[in-house]
């Protein structure tokens, strides 16, 4: 059976509760190659802020209710010369005191602690919206 609708709300007009499962509240696919952030596609992300090489913030359109949300991500490296491209969180959720409900930071280091812009940054957030 398939239900076809554009929007589902609970009886009070708020978000519905999905029994034993939760949907991602935001996600983004963007490139930072060449030092310029370009969003390919996204959900609930209003903009990107470029702080420095390999250090960017994603700003939510609709904020999270608290700082306990989950941030998962991965990256594509700029070329094949570095094989340790990983997705980190910095500032946004590294410590409870530095967390934000309106945005989060991510960095994309390669080869140890050096930070690099990458051709592909992919992340999603799961938690409770405000």
């Amino acid at each position: 059976m398939t239900l076809k609708v554009d929007e589902i709300q609970n009886t009070s007009g708020g978000p519905v509760t999905l029994t034993s499962q939760e949907a991602a509240k935001s996600w983004i696919n963007y490139t930072s190659a060449g030092g310029t952030n370009t969003t390919r596609d996204s959900l609930n992300i209003s903009s990107l802020t470029d702080h420095a090489t390999g250090n960017h913030s994603a700003n939510f359109s609709n904020n999270f209710a608290n700082v306990g949300y989950v941030n998962i991500g991965s990256v594509n490296e700029l070329d094949n010369t570095n094989n340790t491209s990983v997705f980190f969180m910095e500032g946004g959720n590294l410590t409870f005191a530095n967390s934000h409900t309106t945005s989060y930071n991510r960095i994309t280091p390669q080869s140890g602690t050096s930070k690099y812009d990458c051709i592909g940054v992919y992340s999603l957030n799961i938690g409770d919206l405000a």
Partner: protein, 121 residues
């Protein structure tokens, strides 16, 4: 309260998708340093500290098999490069995750984020 039960949900002009299979069945944000404080979670009952940089996560409602997909991201600490990992140990209700530094050694990390996708029992 009313409960709507369907298998597929689609936009009026879009293709349908299996809503249940595409959603996260568990997620957790916790401090993996000495305190082990859980900031927020969904469908996780407890964490075991398996030593430096190793954590067992227990699901409240178990998965139907151990073929689920765990995703781990950790916080950055300026002095060392670090990455999250999923170890070889998993069952339908428990999975071990960890954090390592750039040298490959297990290290505690104060921002560990995990989401798991799969089929619940």
């Amino acid at each position: 309260m009313s409960t709507l039960k369907v298998t597929n949900v689609a936009g009026l002009t879009g293709s349908s998708t299996n809503l249940e299979q595409g959603l996260a069945k568990t997620w957790i944000n916790f401090d993996g340093s000495a305190t082990g404080t859980v900031r927020d979670s969904f469908n996780h009952s407890s964490i075991d500290d398996n030593g430096v940089g190793r954590y067992d996560l227990h699901a409240t409602n178990a998965f139907s098999n151990d073929d689920y997909v765990p995703q781990v991201t950790i916080g950055f600490v300026s002095d060392t490069g670090r990455y999250g990992e999923v170890t070889n140990f998993r069952s339908t209700s428990e999975v071990e995750v960890g954090a390592r530094n750039s040298g490959g050694s297990s290290v505690d990390n104060d921002g560990v984020h995990v989401a798991i996708f799969g089929d619940l029992a």
